[in-house]
């Protein structure tokens, strides 16, 4: 059992006009075996939350804590967080020219597992994982995300999720830019990962569409840098019909 505990988290980003507060007191718990959705309007800071968990250098945490099984996450480097069992599927996966998918995956898996997988077993494992998300094995030889379509990039994120097997996975707008078929494949990948590993999963999304495929246990509504409402799966249905208006018009 693992749990990621975020307590009263404040974070800011440096802008031309000086530092700007984005997260304004986020408190959140993500436990193994459970699936959480954070829904919110654009610009509410929900992607920032994902980046802050992963340790993106652009954001500065000004107060609050993040712990994974009681261990301070904020003092860890980006790679230490990943090795500790955190994973962020990014909204915009980064292109890295000249680095093949195969080389990248094996380097990452070696780092996270602490030892290089046996080559023969590894190739088999990688091919099976690629087949499971309907990704042609020729992608292994391509440069990381370079020239990939939006859907291909998202599939590769889910492939990494399957191979790195984190304790806690944060999926930032994984549904954006996907057609219905791709959304189904990606969602199945997430469900398979969740069922096989019993990991905790946090879905960050603007739309309820993905929640038809990946059932959340808890739905949080995020607005103006904090969680403003919490409910079960039925909350997503309400948001679907009513929209975010009542959260964006009323501000403290």
């Amino acid at each position: 059992m693992s749990s990621l505990l975020i307590t009263d988290l404040y974070a800011q980003v440096e802008t031309d006009q000086g530092p700007k507060d984005i997260l304004k007191g986020v408190t959140l718990k993500i436990e193994s075996g459970r699936t959480y959705a954070i829904m919110g309007p654009n610009g509410s800071g929900k992607s920032t939350l994902a980046y802050v968990i992963a340790g993106h250098p652009r954001y500065t945490v000004t107060s609050g804590t993040i712990t994974l099984d009681g261990v301070d996450v904020l003092s860890m480097s980006v790679d230490e967080r990943a090795r500790a069992g955190l994973f962020l599927a990014m909204q915009y996966p980064v292109e890295v020219p000249g680095v093949s998918v195969a080389n990248f995956l094996r380097t990452a898996v070696t780092a996270v597992r602490g030892e290089a997988p046996k080559l023969r077993l590894w190739i088999k494992e990688m091919k099976e994982a690629m087949a499971a998300i309907q990704m042609d094995s020729s992608f292994a030889e391509r440069n990381l995300n370079e020239g990939f379509s939006g859907g291909e990039k998202k599939r590769l994120e889910i492939l990494q999720l399957a191979l790195l097997r984190p304790k806690i996975a944060v999926l930032d707008e994984t549904d954006s830019g996907l057609d219905v078929d791709a959304l189904r494949v990606v969602s199945e990948g997430v469900n398979r990962f969740r069922d096989e590993t019993g990991a905790g999963t946090l879905l960050i999304t603007h739309y309820t569409r993905i929640l038809r495929y990946i059932k959340p246990d808890v739905v949080h509504v995020f607005a103006d840098g904090r969680i403003v409402e919490t409910g079960g799966a039925e909350l997503a249905e309400i948001l679907e019909s009513e929209g975010y208006e009542r959260f964006t018009t009323v501000k403290s």
Binding site: V78, A82, L88, V94, V96, V99, S100, N103, F104
Partner: protein
């Protein structure tokens, strides 16, 4: 406008050619040609040194000959080159027989046994021959001279040059390449080490239809000053040139200079030329100069382009790799190696491409990447 300004035609071609050092004025560090150079380490080559030896070339089919037996068509274009030509006594000569096809690369090792040496290497690819030559030069001294390449009609020649050595060394090297009708030359130049390295790579076409591909990679670290000057003289119709150089500056004090001059003469109709230089600066206090020049005397060409960019690490790339558990150093090394992969991928010979990649990885402080054995 009533005041017409008469601009003298800019001509990128050298103004003086001579075997006689006295024909050249001694350069100063203010000269356009030398202002980017490691002048204090290279000015030693402006004075003839009787005690200097010769660079020795060893390899299958390579002969060391008395310089007077060498029928070279190349005429020095600056003082250092003229001094080297006037003082070198032996030349390493490789003649590739006409119509011969060499599947295995011909490896030439260049060595010196004196603290200062003059170099003269001649590589002549006979008509319709097909060969790859690898020149390995691990610098241990101060070297001034030339490697003269002649590619015969219809010949296909690849020359991979690997230069390494410590920061106490200096090299002033002329690398003139002359292409015959429909000749195809691929030059891959890797500068992994060395102190003050100045390479002047001049491409001339003696007949229509020639193609020159020039690929280069260089790593510059503290105490290194790597200078590359490329001059492509398009004065024949329907010739191509494709230049791609990539460099990485690793630590404070690292220095690199890349000057790419392409001149397309009036008679060079149907020219297709492209040149690009990209540099990755990995540290504060390192400096990369990059100057592409393109001079067109005719508009009747296929295409002409040039590009230059010097950038720092892409933090997003490093973050992405790190977020997958890859430690910072490894992430940076992956990005740098990926940066070079584009240009190394164009070196046709896979064995030597891997050799170069291994050497670069080694210089970056990694013996081997986890994924390399796939």
């Amino acid at each position: 406008m009533t005041n017409a300004v008469v601009v003298p035609p800019l001509d990128l071609a050298p103004q003086t050619r001579s075997f006689d050092p006295a024909a050249f004025i001694e350069p100063t560090s203010r000269d356009e040609e030398w202002k980017f150079s490691a002048f204090s380490q290279l000015k030693q080559f402006f004075i003839a040194d009787q005690s200097a030896g010769n660079v020795h070339a060893a390899g299958v089919g390579v002969n060391m000959l008395d310089i007077h037996q060498v029928a070279s068509t190349w005429i020095p274009t600056d003082l250092a080159a003229a001094i080297a030509r006037a003082n070198v006594t032996e030349a390493g000569v490789l003649e590739i027989e006409a119509q011969s096809v060499h599947k295995e690369p011909i490896v030439i090792d260049l060595t010196t046994s004196t603290t200062k040496a003059y170099q003269h290497i001649e590589i002549v690819a006979g008509r319709l021959s097909d060969a790859t030559v690898v020149i390995r030069q691990n610098l241990t001294s101060q070297i001034n001279g030339a490697t003269v390449v002649t590619v015969g009609d219809g010949a296909k020649l690849t020359v991979i040059t690997i230069i390494d050595g410590d920061t106490s060394t200096a090299l002033a090297l002329q690398l003139p390449v002359s292409l015959g009708r429909d000749a195809y030359f691929t030059g891959a130049l890797a500068i992994i080490g060395g102190g003050a390295v100045r390479i002047q790579n001049a491409i001339t076409y003696t007949a229509p239809g020639g193609t020159a591909e020039l690929f280069g990679v260089f790593l510059s670290d503290t105490g290194q000053h790597i200078e590359q000057r490329i001059f492509v003289n398009h004065d024949q119709p329907h010739c191509k040139s494709d230049v791609m150089y990539k460099g990485a500056l690793l630590n404070p004090g690292a220095r690199s200079v890349w000057i790419g001059d392409v001149l397309v003469r009036k008679e060079a109709i149907g020219t297709d030329t492209h040149q690009v230089n990209r540099n990755l600066v990995l540290s504060d206090g390192a400096r990369a100069d990059s100057v592409p020049n393109l001079e067109l005397e005719t508009g009747d060409i296929v295409k002409a382009g040039h590009a230059s960019a010097t950038g720092r690490f892409d933090d997003e790339q490093v973050f992405y790799l790190q977020s997958r558990g890859i430690p910072l150093d490894t992430a940076r090394q992956l990005v740098v190696r990926g940066f070079f992969a584009e240009v190394l991928g164009r070196v046709g010979n896979t064995h030597w491409r891997d050799e170069l990649l291994a050497k670069i990885s080694q210089r970056l402080g990694i013996e081997k990447f986890e994924g390399d054995d796939e």
